[in-house]
Symmetry: C2
Subunit: 137 residues, 2 copies
DNA sequence: ATTACTGCAAAGCATTTGCAGACTG
DNA sequence: CAGTCTGCAAATGCTTTGCAGTAAT
């Protein structure tokens, strides 16, 4: 079992459950829901109550360690490690897979969007369509 | 009381509750939640059960009469009449006001985003920041 | 030892569903 | 009249909260 002893995020008390959550997120290959994270923790032979996982995620988000992603037309939030890149996601309409898009087409546009009535601080762009497996064409 | 007798959307059976919902949306100056719509209906001296409003909204969305908007970090969906314009919304971080942005900076970019692994059909862009009233600067 | 964290149970909230009676065309 | 729609109640699913015991520094 891999460890997360090193590079533990500053300002966060280390507990067994928090280590479990971080470990799962470090090895996740896609954003996970709180429930997913719970299951993964159990697969690793550990345990953490769902409400605890929510509390840990909330803390991690506040500390900037984790990013919370809300997908349109889904009532389940997913989380992933904050890799400090500006990212956007594409959601497959068929299998609901979430694909990260590394480059942001908005970046150079934001200045133009500034409006007398609204001070834009950030944005969230979500694409939808079909992933390679599901594309009907 | 204003009427919605004229231009009733095709293919939708007219009922008292559906007229109430449409009337409210026609006079709304911002996107409304199902609960908001219920309250407005009551203010108009009519009534409609919340679950009925949800069913009506679902129908209207399916028929293209209404657009459903999900805002990040809010667990409440809001609805507005489909005015057949491509729109994006800016959400105020302070007062949660939703401001519509009429022009879409993405339009000419979508073709470039197409990816071998993902066939993009549409997008949803949400801006956040502060509205005129709340901007701390 | 003190303070923060977790397990657990229960509550909250938006939304959905089942069903019988009411309404529409 | 036949089929659809609505009121109502209850369920659902995600997320949050309260509290008492447990663990971390």
């Amino acid at each position: 079992m891999k460890e997360v002893q090193n590079d533990w995020p500053a300002g966060i008390k280390k507990t067994r459950q928090r280590e479990s959550v971080l470990l799962v997120l470090e090895h996740a290959e896609k954003p996970l829901s709180a429930t997913d994270i719970c299951s993964e923790i159990e697969k690793n032979g550990e345990s953490a109550w769902l409400s605890t996982v929510y509390r840990i995620l909330e803390l991690f988000v506040k500390k900037g360690v984790v990013v919370k992603i809300s997908v349109l037309n889904s009532d389940t939030a997913v989380y992933e490690l904050n890799r400090f890149q500006h990212k956007h996601y594409a959601v497959c309409l068929s299998c609901r897979k979430i694909v990260a898009m590394d480059n942001c087409p908005m970046e150079r546009f934001i200045p133009k969007i500034q409006d007398a009535d609204f001070h834009v601080l950030g944005h969230n762009l979500e694409l939808y369509g079909y992933c390679g497996n599901c594309d009907p064409k």
